[in-house]
């Protein structure tokens, strides 16, 4: 085993550092408290959504409804949570619970998660459109304050990233239950043999995904001040890319919360970087894909070298 294969966090860190250095080179003014906050502001909800996706990928499933779900959470936040906080909170709680139920159903009926979540994405999208037929709503004042807070030394986005990474690292990598959850992805049969109820564990993983999805929607409204039923549709693919970019694997329960947060930040930065390069917006999505392919290729090469050694 090589050093890189053993410490899978290194490649995401290096990717982010290289991209950051290139951005600062192109646009030195970004190297400031204000500049960093502008660069990474919108990365916070994406990081939360990536963590949510990671919970699902951790148990060997994939969630294609996450973008629609985050949009729905955003719509609820901008309407109910603002107008009637108690009712809004209850709705958000119900959303988290419904995710847990979804996980249990997927496991109990042995349904492919990719199909179920694809179907659910239309359900979430429909409800969101029902709540907020046209863009609008308003962010609750406290949420707005929270997302625009100016902590000393480092901008909000960076502080939030550190907090998200630390909390999820403790939860998934260090705690006992997190270890068992990762075990479900690694070898569900042996976890079941040890006397655990896999259906409850899956419900827990999905419930956590629902929780972080809701948090992502709230964070997004706090930044954007209003919501729209389609506000976060691209989060589905961004979150999957973020997990993989951060050193996670599609199967086998190999995930890294810190890596996922870094992956989300890398993706956000890649978009800004391309703007600084004065690339026409028509090409940006393609170029973003190219960056993704580049990083994944690098990882594959390092892995192959590692297995040869």
């Amino acid at each position: 085993m090589t050093f890189l294969a053993r410490h899978r966090i290194i490649l995401p860190v290096v990717s982010l550092a290289v991209l950051l250095a290139a951005t600062f080179y192109m646009q030195p003014r970004a190297m400031s408290y204000f500049g960093l906050n502008l660069l990474f502001n919108l990365a916070v909800p994406i990081a939360l959504a990536t963590i949510a996706q990671m919970m699902i990928i951790m148990v060997n499933d994939i969630d294609l409804s996450l973008g629609a779900f985050v949009s729905l959470a955003a719509c609820v936040t901008a309407t109910f949570l603002n107008d009637a906080p108690m009712l809004g909170l209850l709705i958000l709680l119900a959303l988290v619970l419904s995710y847990a139920v979804l996980g249990a159903v997927i496991h109990a009926l042995e349904l492919p998660a990719i199909v179920v979540t694809l179907g659910m994405s239309f359900v979430w999208g429909g409800i969101a459109l029902f709540i907020l037929p046209s863009p609008g709503g308003a962010a609750p004042g406290w949420l707005r304050t929270l997302m625009t807070v100016k902590p000393p030394f480092a901008p909000m986005a960076v502080v939030a990233a550190v907090i998200i990474a630390a909390v999820t690292h403790l939860l998934i990598m260090r705690s006992g239950i997190g270890t068992v959850l990762r075990g479900v992805g690694g070898n569900a049969r042996s976890v079941a043999r040890a006397g655990w109820s896999v259906i409850r564990l899956k419900a827990l993983a999905y419930g956590l995904a629902g929780l972080f999805g809701v948090l992502a929607g709230m964070a997004l409204v706090g930044l954007a001040t209003s919501a729209d039923a389609n506000i976060a549709l691209r989060y589905t693919l961004l979150s999957i890319a973020g997990v993989i970019l951060g050193g996670g694997e599609f199967t086998g329960g190999k995930v890294s919360p810190t890596g996922a947060v870094i992956g989300a930040f890398t993706l956000t930065l890649a978009a800004s970087f391309l703007s600084f390069m004065r690339l026409s917006p028509d090409w940006q999505i393609g170029a973003q894909g190219a960056i993704l392919i580049l990083v994944l290729t690098a990882r594959l090469i390092f892995r192959q070298k590692g297995s040869e050694a």
Binding site: G183, V191, G195
Partner: protein
């Protein structure tokens, strides 16, 4: 020891387990008390794994009872099992794998006690193991993983291991480490623990077991203290009592030139039926798959394939479940009948109709969906698919799984007829009766050929002898 301590940890009374019409375990009475080391032996499908799953609580008996000392579950009674196929989570570290089966590890700093516990267990069983409790399991070698799994089985895990089931624990360990394990098993039993030891290495069984239980066809056929068994007696007990040599068709036919030869030493001549035997999972299927892949191209299907494959796992790599019987048969011969890339519908129907009558597929219309057939008839379709092609070599990976006796006889006859016409068959089977149909048999053990038997040598006894390691575990 007083009476209470000698009370059995687990006792099975007339326990049976059926899977549909298959009687995997057919009324077994067995009890294991502290200090016992039970050697469990038997051939493929004798019911060993079903018995293990009843004892560890993985399965409930269809009839009869399974009782534990504490009256509670297998887990509470301290029954642990170490399985042959590795059941660790490869993405977790050694210590984290202990946490999976040790829910008493709690608190913010559970890692330190976990590391200590697994380290201690490894040190006791395998002194000088050199395994880091912080290493991720997928960075360990197969042998190291097996050692970790055994160590987790014997680790206290909050209570105490009282009965440990070891299913082929030494299959991937080298001799020195295996000896450490055997020594530990003896120590463990001497201090009041119990072990059920399953192994194909006769030497090991004789070395550790205090009592040997022989299973055959889901029944206990012999249960005696180890001293009362001889090696030969044990093999005889495992085999069929009725020495049926009714149909070995000793007519030594003349075979053509050699058409198959692999690095492993597997050979076959034109017109020959070659059997692959030995205990399940000892490399037979892998050998056949390698042979097939080396003779066929992944890129283009030729007009005249060299080899065809009959899959044993119908659901996984056999039937195309959405297609009709006709399509399922003709898929192997489409390139031959095709004209300018278009399927010759009439030819296709002719071939399907032809094989329906020749092989006796029980359906009124070959356009019916394949899933309307019973398992045995689905398998016949797969045979038809293979035999309809012009390939001179047919590879069969345990094709008779779940096929009824009548169908089996039909297929045997079919295979003999095709072999007489110059086709070569390579046939892996877990059932000795089928292997006895072959002209020549290779017995596999530990992914190597351990014996080659021909003609009158092909008897169940000889095959058993070659499948089990007879030498002393040195």
């Amino acid at each position: 020891m007083n009476d209470h301590e000698r009370a059995p940890l687990v006792s099975l009374t007339d326990a049976a387990r059926h899977f549909g019409p298959v009687r995997a375990l057919d009324g077994v009475t067995l009890s294991v008390a502290p200090g016992d080391c039970v050697g469990l032996v038997g051939h493929n499908g004798a019911g060993k794994s079903t018995l293990v799953n009843l004892v560890n609580g993985g399965l409930a008996p269809s009839s009869g009872t399974v009782g534990f000392a504490t009256g509670g579950s297998a887990l509470e009674a301290g029954v642990r099992s170490v399985f042959q196929e590795l059941s660790l989570c490869p993405n977790l570290t050694v210590a984290e794998n202990l946490r999976i089966s040790h829910s008493a590890l709690k608190g913010p700093n559970w890692r330190r006690p976990a590391r200590e516990e697994i380290g201690q267990s490894l040190d006791t069983i395998f002194p000088g193991h050199g395994i880091d409790p912080n290493a991720e399991v997928d960075t360990l070698s197969i042998a190291e993983r097996q050692m970790v799994e055994i160590a987790i089985g014997f680790a206290p895990r909050g209570s105490e291991a009282r009965l440990v089931i070891l299913d082929e624990p030494t299959s991937s360990l080298d001799a020195g480490i295996a000896d450490q394990l055997l020594a530990h098993v003896k120590r463990f039993c001497a201090s009041g623990g119990a072990v059920i030891f399953i192994s194909h290495m006769m030497g090991e069984v004789f070395q550790v077991a205090t009592r040997i239980v022989v299973l055959k066809d889901g029944k206990v056929v012999a249960e005696r203290p180890t001293e009362d068994f001889t090696r030969q007696g044990l093999v005889d007990a495992m085999g069929h009592v009725t020495a049926d040599t009714a149909e070995t068709t000793g007519t030594a036919r003349d075979f053509g030139k050699e058409v198959v030869r692999t690095d492993q030493g597997l050979t076959a001549r034109k017109g020959e039926i070659v059997g692959l035997s030995g205990l399940a999972g000892h490399g037979q299927a892998a050998a056949l798959a390698r042979l097939y892949l080396s003779r066929s191209s992944a890129w283009r299907a030729g007009k005249a394939p060299e080899v065809v494959f009959v899959a044993g796992d119908r659901q996984r790599d056999g039937v195309l479940p959405l297609w009709s019987i006709l399509r399922n048969i003709s898929v192997s011969i489409l390139p031959q009948g095709a004209r300018r890339g278009l399927v010759d519908r009439e030819g296709e129907a002719r071939v399907a109709q032809d094989w329906k009558t020749r092989i006796g597929i029980r359906t009124d219309d070959v356009a019916n969906p394949i899933l309307s057939l019973s398992g045995g008839n689905q398998q016949k379709v797969l045979f038809a698919r293979a035999l309809a092609s012009s390939a001179p070599v047919v590879i069969m990976d345990d094709p008779m799984r779940g096929v009824d006796v009548g169908t089996k006889q039909d297929v045997y006859a079919m295979i003999r007829a095709e072999a007489a016409r110059g086709r070569t068959f390579l046939w892996y089977s877990t059932e000795t009766e089928e292997v006895c149909q072959c002209d020549r048999v290779f017995v596999f053990r530990n992914h190597e050929i351990s014996a080659e038997l021909t003609g009158a040598e092909i008897t169940e006894e000889k095959i058993l002898e070659a499948s089990f390691e007879m030498q002393e575990a040195s």
